[in-house]
């Protein structure tokens, strides 16, 4: 099973909020779409779900064109950011509603729901109201509802953003293995880059409604194709050096080292990040960020250097990666 988007776009007023999207997601793949807020990542999901109308291009699942189908006819399962559970219905009733609408018989519904509740480990609380569940449990109910549809494609819209940080980290591997075990193409939208890198088999970085780069989690970090991608991924943020010959050189904070010679720097401030220490340095190349062992006691003035092979070169005008040297 494969989800294929061909030059998909959506216009609001005179602006294309999503433009010329071309990608495909195969089964066993979890494509994570990341980007700053307003970049069009949620719109992408809504277009595939059929909640918004496509103004350009086509969407296919295998060979079936779903561009103009109703959301319920598209064979998609969706998990919403707020989970969208009906507060006046129990877990069981929430799950049952969609099956009932499709005209499934009562005993068959009961069997399916029991089955799914086992998978998401909620078989002990079918009669709870959503308000009586924890955030993580609610998320699993929303996931169960998507699974129940037995869809061809899974769409997840920031499913973790309503959970606290600790829980998010705990749930991440469970959710990932559950999704991948379904062996269906999955599209996962988030604004959190750590979550994106953890969940993805592939990442698409979206900016202004267009894909900047679509690659493996390793490559988008270690081989960014544009300045935007380099700056968007990785915290502390990548250092951009002075523009020379219409070229911006960028080097990640962890690739700076202290030495006896090199670029002279003055210490501006420092922050302890627990496992590491972040130094803010002032130099002729501008302000630099550098991470170093937390026990290092930094003097006022230091020299900094970096491995030339760890430097990325970008075109100062277009922001595209330059491949020379």
């Amino acid at each position: 099973m494969t989800l294929v988007l061909k030059s998909v776009g959506r216009k609001v007023g005179h602006n294309w909020i999503v433009k010329d999207l071309n990608f495909s997601v195969r089964q066993n793949e979890c494509l994570v779409v990341v980007g700053p807020s307003g970049c069009g990542k949620s719109s992408t999901l809504r277009l595939i779900a059929g909640l918004d109308r496509c103004d350009h291009g086509s969407i296919k699942i295998d060979d079936r064109d779903i561009t103009n189908l109703q959301p319920s006819e598209r064979a998609i399962g969706m998990v919403f950011q707020s989970y969208a559970l009906l507060p006046h219905l129990t877990v069981y009733e929430n799950l049952e509603l969609g099956l009932r609408v499709r005209g499934m018989r009562a005993e068959q519904r009961a069997r399916r729901i029991q089955n799914i509740l086992d998978i998401v480990q909620l078989s002990d609380r079918p009669n709870h109201l959503p308000s009586a569940l924890s955030g993580g449990q609610r998320q699993r109910v929303a996931l169960a509802r998507a699974l129940l549809r037995d869809p061809k494609v899974y769409l997840l819209d920031e499913p973790m953003s309503n959970l606290d940080a600790q829980l998010r980290e705990k749930i991440r591997p469970e959710l990932r293995s559950l999704i991948l075990s379904q062996e269906k193409p999955t599209l996962y939208v988030t604004h959190d880059q750590n979550e994106a890198l953890a969940m993805a088999t592939k990442i698409a970085i979206l900016n202004n409604g267009q894909i900047e780069q679509l690659d493996t989690p390793f490559n988008v970090y270690h081989n960014p194709q544009s300045l935007f991608v380099a700056q968007f991924l990785g915290r502390p943020q990548i250092n951009c050096l002075k523009v020379r010959n219409n070229t911006i050189d960028a080097v990640r904070p962890e690739n700076l080292t202290i030495s006896d010679s090199g670029l002279p720097c003055r210490l501006l401030a420092r922050e302890w990040l627990g496992n590491t220490q972040l130094l803010y340095l002032d130099s002729d190349e501008g302000e630099l960020r550098m991470t170093i062992d937390p026990s290092f006691v930094c003097p006022e003035r230091i020299f900094v250097q970096w491995d030339k092979s760890k430097v990325f070169h970008f075109d100062a005008k277009t922001g595209q990666r330059k491949s020379f040297h």
């Binding site: 779900a49 909640l51 959301p71 319920s72 998609i76 969208a84 219905l89 509603l97």
Partner: protein
């Protein structure tokens, strides 16, 4: 603090005093009303209540009529206003603002001035002396308030619930059944009570549409008891009728105090 509680007591006395006076009047003999300070052998009586209850048509008929019209117009109004409110909440901002301005203008219009044309309509379509027909103008006059209140309630619903329902394939009617009506029940309840109160209390249209004695609504019947001359009003009987007529409303206000207040205030915030 003392000052404040005495202000509150003053407020309560001010709002309830006239009613208490009616209560006092209703139990007093005519003699006692005319000469309150004289020594009387017969000061208290239940005669006024007996008269009111045994009159023809019986007083409870008016209560029943008002209740009937109130229920019919409330149901009809909700039936018409709920889809309209949903529609406004989904229309483009510009269009919905346009509709809202019209609704506010209608709500501001003193509907009393409409009686002449409405009477004309009632005559043309022979809608007079019919309690169900009387619910039609009430439904129309309640539209501005009902649609405004309900549409702001629709806007406050999380849009993802709607999206999820569309993914699950719920039709519009099923969405009303499973999502909108249950989730908006507080707003629907306060709207319903406000409409019911309006139709229960409405006077000029009921006055001009209904002339049959057995079909009068409470406000018109009460005004009729008063008769035409200022001096011959049977105040004792009237007070008894007021007390009997006020009891259901007072109960309503006590029971539904919260939804009434929330309806009124959200109407104000909306405006």
């Amino acid at each position: 603090m003392k000052f404040k509680s005495s202000l509150i007591v003053l407020l309560l006395v001010w709002s309830i005093m006239p009613l208490l006076w009616q209560l006092y009047t209703s139990f007093s003999t005519d003699q006692a009303l005319v000469t309150p300070f004289a020594e009387l052998s017969e000061r208290w009586t239940l005669d006024h209540y007996r008269n009111v209850i045994s009159s023809d048509p019986p007083f409870f008929m008016y209560l029943a009529n008002s209740f009937f019209v109130g229920i019919i117009s409330t149901l009809l109004t909700l039936f018409v206003a709920l889809p309209a409110a949903y529609s406004i909440s989904k229309l483009s901002r510009k269009t919905s603002n346009y509709v809202r301005v019209i609704l506010v203008a209608c709500a501001l219009f003193p509907y009393v001035l409409l009686f002449l044309s409405l009477l004309e309509l009632a005559r043309t379509f022979s809608l007079g002396n019919n309690l169900i027909a009387l619910a039609l103008p009430y439904t129309a006059l309640s539209q501005p308030l009902a649609v405004l209140l309900l549409s702001s309630a629709f806007v406050s619903l999380p849009s993802e619930l709607d999206d999820a329902a569309r993914v699950e394939g719920l039709s519009l009617i099923k969405r009303f059944r499973w999502i909108y009506i249950p989730l908006l029940s507080p707003a629907i309840a306060s709207t319903a009570i406000l409409i019911f109160l309006f139709s229960w209390n409405e006077y000029p249209i009921a006055l001009t549409w209904i002339s049959d004695n057995s079909k009068l609504t409470l406000p018109v019947a009460m005004a009729r008891i008063a008769g035409s001359s200022i001096h011959s009003v049977p105040y004792g009987a009237y007070a008894a009728a007021t007390v009997l007529g006020a009891i259901p409303l007072i109960l309503l206000v006590i029971v539904f105090q919260k939804p009434i207040v929330s309806g009124l205030t959200s109407g104000a915030i909306k405006g």
